[in-house]
Amino acid sequence: MIEIKNLHKSYKMGSNSLHVLKGIDFSVKEGELVAIMGSSGSGKSTLLNILGMLDEADSGDYHLDKVEIRNLNETKAANYRNKFLGFVFQSFNLINYKTAMENVALPLYYQKVGRKERQRKALKYLEQVGLKEWAGHLPSELSGGQKQRVAIARAMAAEPKVLLADEPTGALDSKTSYEVMDLIQQINDQGNTILVVTHEPDIAHMCKRIVHLRDGVIEKDEKVEQVRASAYV
């Protein structure tokens, strides 16, 4: 699904440049649940941004579902993001003047899905995250865990190839974190490919594979015994 070869990325900081990713080789197969771990500054967010086409690599190959991602202009990147990727952010990033359902329907709007169909799908995904009866509520009326579940529903609504989650539990307490991870595991059980960036080991162990990043290189790439989050809920 994801195929990365010799990926480099550096940022210019004034006169010096900061080499963040120093040759990443990495691949993800369909249906995997991968945790990317590392301390801050290890380059995990940069990697995720490049995977999410929010940022571009300096050199190296990136294939997503056998499509080469290179030299994208903004419009093309937007279309690919819309078609291939779903995003879950640490701070949820729901649009605060839209109801839960409207938020979930937003990527479908950009896919030019008809209005009725959008609502139907949005409700379907809200139901999947257990928030159907909260469909008409604004984000300000939801708890942190609920917000993140709405965000996950939004990411899923577009039926992406890959779900990218950047510290999805970073702003949540552990109980809610496990609930969110339980949801992510369920989505993965349905065969969806998911990448989770985290620095919490317990969250990482709820994935099927952990990639350890350190100073811009992959230090360790291991398959782990998945811990079911439902055990803690």
Binding site: A78, F87, I95
Partner: protein, 422 residues
């Protein structure tokens, strides 16, 4: 185009407008104010324009007076300071020599320009002193005289037979006749001669030296009554509508000078007063007002629209994160740009609409206050549809252009920067 008529597009726009109610209201107020000023000003200017036109409707706009004075340059053996006297014959010569003259009315008057006061007018026990004018019927072509029901002005027969008939003013009627008495057919004594009243004229202000007590009698009768022979006090002249009145004025004086053997350079020999020139000056003033109101109005609209751009710019900054999320979810730069421009145009449009309604409302109020008010030259303040259409078009264009700035700003922020946590 599909983008503009898409219900979802509008839902997005309404959503973001509804979210920022205060911001929207403040933005809109700027443009409402601009278009309101524009409508109110140009409507008022038009009202003033109409008002002036109404004031002058009784007088031929391109009319003038000419009268004789005395020479200031010796010529052909005549010494300086010779008094000149216009004659009836001058009218015929002027008419023949200057084709631009449409009407020429020789006039005599007593009790107008100083000298011997007005005529003694007596009716029974009532007396008064009034100005007497000797006139030809053609005078009404130059300055319309409104005659009350049942009456008439002097006609050609009156002139031909030198009839002793007169047209009196409103005040004359009030002072010489009882309230419920019909003055038409009644007799008054003017300087010891009996005259039959044939009409009462309505006084219209703005004509210059005339008043509501003037008595008009046939020119030929005046001649006999005051023994003036062929003498004429002054000519009232109306030029054709397309003629240059100033040039006609020059020509009239030149003809009179040659006719009366006056030095061609003698500026003081004949006096003249040009209503057309005065009128042009006043119309020029009201045109200037219209122009000024247009400039001020448009400037205010521009200021308002710039305000919209300014506030949208701030709002784009406020919504950086939201726009970043939208783009992460697959909004293309084109869609983001389109949304912000449309938001700007929509706000401008709505604001303009409210401003137009508000402005027309105020114009209607001003109109109802000044409708019967005499003295204020203000009638029927309207704004031509072309002006309104132009203003709306201007607003839409400006709204689009000014929306481009925040839209470009919104697009230039990379989604990754927009989504940075801090």
């Amino acid at each position: 185009m599909r983008f503009i008529f898409d219900r979802d597009t509008w839902q997005e726009i309404f959503g973001s407008i509804r979210k920022n109610k205060l911001r929207t209201v403040i933005t809109v107020v700027g443009v409402v104010w601009g278009i309101f000023i524009y409508i109110a000003l140009s409507g008022s200017a038009k009202g003033l324009d109409n008002g002036f036109e109404r004031e002058f409707e009784t007088v031929a706009m391109n009319s003038m007076f000419a009268w004789a004075q005395s020479t200031s340059i010796p010529y052909e053996g005549f010494k300086t300071g010779r008094s000149l006297q216009l004659k009836l014959d001058d009218a015929r010569i002027l008419q023949n020599r200057i084709p631009e003259i449409q009407y020429i009315a020789p006039r005599n008057a007593k009790g107008v320009f100083g000298g011997s006061g007005g005529a003694n007018v007596v009716r029974g026990q009532k007396t008064g002193s009034y100005s007497i004018y000797g006139d030809f019927p053609v005078f009404t072509k130059i300055a319309t005289k409104k005659i009350y029901d049942g009456g008439r002005f002097i006609n050609d027969e009156d002139i031909k037979y030198g009839r002793k008939v007169c047209v009196i003013g409103e005040r004359t009627q009030k002072e010489l006749f009882e309230k419920d008495e019909n003055p038409i057919g009644g007799y008054i004594r003017v300087d010891d001669i009996y005259f039959q009243v044939v009409g009462v004229h309505k006084f219209v202000p703005g004509g210059g030296f005339e008043s509501d007590s003037d008595i008009f009698i046939p020119f030929t009768t005046y001649k006999k009554l005051y023994n003036t022979g062929e003498n004429v006090d002054w000519f009232s002249i109306a030029a054709f509508a397309d003629a240059d009145v100033i040039q006609v004025e020059e020509d009239v004086k030149a003809v009179l000078k040659s006719n009366h053997r006056v030095h061609p350079d003698d500026e003081r020999a004949f006096g003249s007063f040009n209503l057309g020139e005065i009128f042009n000056r006043i119309m020029g003033f009201s045109k200037g007002m219209t122009f000024l109101s247009l400039i001020v109005g448009i400037a205010t609209i521009i200021a308002g629209v710039v305000g919209i751009g300014n506030i949208l710019l701030i709002s784009v900054k406020e919504r950086t994160k939201e726009l970043g999320v939208r783009r992460a979810l697959g909004a293309t730069p084109r869609e983001v740009r389109g949304q912000i421009i449309l938001e700007s145009v929509f706000l401008t449009f709505i604001a303009g609409f409210i401003g137009i309604i508000f402005g027309s409302f105020v114009l209607a109020i001003i109109n109802s206050f000044t409708q019967n008010g005499d003295g204020i030259p203000y009638t029927n303040p309207t704004v031509p549809l072309v002006y309104i259409g132009g203003a709306v078009a201007l607003m839409v264009i400006l709204g689009t252009l000014i929306g481009l700035i925040p839209a470009q700003r919104a697009v230039s922020i990379k989604p990754i920067d927009a989504l940075r946590e801090e």
